[in-house]
């Protein structure tokens, strides 16, 4: 199978994630969409690694996973603390500051 198809899939997943961040309202779902974007990046990296025949892309994918894990730790801590305060994870409710 032509590896370029994986690139189309990666672009599609990235777009789904980006649109999800823009239209969804629940902070947890937003966060999952960001994770989807990061995984789309991983797929693209591994595919390019195959195309170029060097291992850089696969190694970067490992780094991305570690970064994504660290981001989960920090992100869930913040989202959970807000949820416990407001009993809501909707980003529309966090609107004390306006222009």
């Amino acid at each position: 199978m032509n590896p370029v198809n994986y690139l189309y899939l990666a672009a599609l997943l990235f777009t789904i994630g980006a649109v999800g961040v823009l239209v969804r309202r629940n902070a947890i779902v937003l966060f999952m969409c960001v994770e989807l974007m990061l995984n789309a990046c991983n797929l693209a990296l591994v595919t390019f690694s195959r195309l170029h025949g060097n291992l850089d892309g696969q190694i970067i994918a490992f780094f991305t996973m570690v970064v994504a894990a660290a981001e989960v730790v920090v992100g869930l801590a913040i989202i959970v603390s807000v949820f416990r305060t407001r009993h809501s994870a909707s980003v529309d409710d966090t609107n004390l500051m306006k222009l």
Partner: protein
């Protein structure tokens, strides 16, 4: 037998050669962060504050000393080179910006350590500006218990050290992967630090959520840009990317295939740009700036506003000047547009603000635009001018936010502008210092702001961006209007009877403000030495 043949077929992985001396400024700061975490676990609660402040300041001092040593030993000029297998560039701009970041961090740690502004806890312990127990729900019994017993979030110091370590690495990163990791290493602690305010905790948590979600979104863009550029060039090292873009690299069949597709390169660079422009707070990626600056604890805001900008502009310079000079005809027009939008929008929206912290946030947006004009210059003067501007701007910002922490009423800081009316009559010294910072923001001669603006505009003009300079000067004039309006409000209106009080700080915040004022005046009156230094440090190694 098959195991044997497999083992013979795989070439041994060479152990990487690490130049520990060149990397030592970063290692010192990361070391201090790790020691800080251990101290958090093992030192008794009543000794933690002194221990953590000591560790943080020692780490920063060691780092600054090592930077000075490296600069003295010629690593900024003749011995500038790539370290750690080409991942980190140790050269003039790196060392200059690392020096600025460590100094900024020292001043920020002094402000974090300030414990005289908040009223003492029930148990009589002095407390700082951070939540007594970040995990406790605001308004709950657990929070009240923690507050009365005088607990403190001393984790702020190791978090700061991690953020500083990432910031030191960010402008020095010489491949895209290192740059991405550095971006995350300094962003993640900052998200947490935003959520730690002692007062107005809902605002603080809201700021953290917004900063985190938007920050994670933008770094996902950066990562996809990284993937596309890697796909185009087959490498993430800046030097190799530049060679592939210019067509001087040895062409493999795979490279011949991917370099035929310019979309990979252009979309990739655009997405990398989104990630970096978000971090510097340029329009149209500035939406987080006012909310996060307002909600975060004010000492953290000052640190974030100053140090993040320094690190992110350093990284932007390296990315555009080292990896993508061959694409200048493509990225310069886009950055022209972004710079004009940023300068104009920042200055115009700031006019309508009524909160001091939001006002300073929009002013920082406008300043991002001014610094971008220096980046667009695309010549060596541009690099020197940007370095000087960053150094000047960061100390003014730190000082201005330190002043904001001192003007207080019963609810904490009185940040609404109407409360600042007549401050000059009540506390002439503080108002005069704040006026000095505002004049520096506005770019009035004899302050560091004027020298910085003059340097970047001169570089932009010599780089052929004259229209940009005209827009810059005009939006400076608009910006001067609202800075001067605040000065008029402080000095020429009557103080209100129920107005805020000006807290008397300890030597810690006092030092921070005094340093900011001294740097502002010195860089304004006698800038030659520092301009020379910045120009000398303006050679990027490839």
């Amino acid at each position: 037998m098959t195991g044997m043949t497999l083992a013979a077929a795989i070439p041994p992985i060479p152990a990487p050669h690490i130049e520990y001396l060149q990397l030592s400024p970063m290692l010192a700061v990361f070391g201090a962060a790790l020691v800080g975490i251990l101290a958090e676990a093992f030192v008794p609660r009543r000794h933690r504050y002194a221990t953590q402040v000591g560790i943080a300041l020692a780490g920063l001092a060691a780092s600054f000393g090592l930077i000075l040593y490296l600069a003295q030993a010629g690593y900024a000029t003749t011995k500038a080179d790539l370290a750690a297998m080409g991942a980190v560039a140790v050269d003039g701009p790196s060392l200059f910006l690392q020096g600025v970041i460590t100094l900024v961090a020292v001043v920020a740690v002094l402000q974090f350590a300030e414990r005289r502004l908040e009223p003492r806890s029930g148990a009589g312990a002095a407390v700082d500006a951070f939540a007594p127990e970040a995990a406790a729900v605001p308004g709950s019994d657990a929070e009240r218990r923690a507050a009365t017993s005088g607990h403190a979030t001393t984790e702020i110091y190791p978090l700061t050290m991690f953020a500083v370590g990432g910031m030191l690495l960010f402008p020095a990163a010489s491949d895209l992967l290192t740059m991405f990791v550095a971006l995350e290493v300094f962003s993640l602690p900052l998200y947490l630090m935003c959520a730690l305010a002692r007062r107005r905790r809902l605002l603080s948590q809201e700021a953290a959520v917004k900063y985190f979600l938007l920050g994670a979104f933008s770094s996902a863009f950066f990562l996809f840009g990284l993937a596309l550029v890697y796909g185009y060039a087959g490498s993430v090292q800046f030097g190799q990317i530049a060679r592939v873009v210019e067509g001087t690299a040895t062409v493999t069949p795979a490279l011949a295939n991917t370099t035929g597709n310019d979309a990979l390169l252009l979309i990739g660079l655009a997405m990398l740009g989104v990630g970096l422009l978000f971090k510097v707070g340029a329009v149209p990626f500035h939406m987080w700036t006012p909310d996060v600056y307002q909600g975060a604890p004010t000492p953290v805001t000052g640190f974030m506003a100053a140090a993040t900008k320094v690190a992110a502009f350093g990284a932007m310079l390296r990315l555009l000047y080292v990896a993508f000079p061959g694409l200048a005809w493509d990225w310069r027009p886009v950055l022209w547009g972004v710079a004009i939008l940023t300068m104009v929008a920042g200055a115009v929206i700031a006019v309508t603000q009524t909160d001091v912290k939001r006002l300073l946030a929009y002013s920082s947006v406008a300043h991002a635009g001014f610094i971008l004009t220096g980046v667009i210059a695309l010549n060596q003067h541009g690099i020197g001018a940007v370095l000087f501007y960053l150094a000047a701007y960061s100390f003014v910002t730190l000082g201005a936010f330190a002043v904001v922490t001192l003007v207080r009423d019963a609810d904490g800081e009185a940040t609404h502008l109407s409360r600042w009316a007549g401050l000059g009559r009540r506390s002439p010294l503080l108002a005069a210092v704040f006026a000095l910072f505002l004049l520096a923001f506005a770019g009035i001669p004899l302050t560091s702001g004027f020298t910085g603006k003059f340097a970047v505009f001169q570089a932009a003009a010599s780089g052929g961006a004259m229209p940009l300079v005209i827009v810059g000067v005009l939006s400076s004039a608009v910006a001067a209007f609202f800075y001067i309006r605040v000065i008029v409000l402080m000095f020429f209106s009557d103080p209100r009877a129920d107005g805020p009080t000006v807290a008397v700080p300890s030597a810690l915040t006092g030092t921070a403000i005094a340093l900011g004022a001294v740097v502002t005046v010195v860089l304004g009156v006698a800038p030659e030495y520092f301009l020379h230094l910045a120009n000398q440090a303006s050679l990027l190694v490839r």
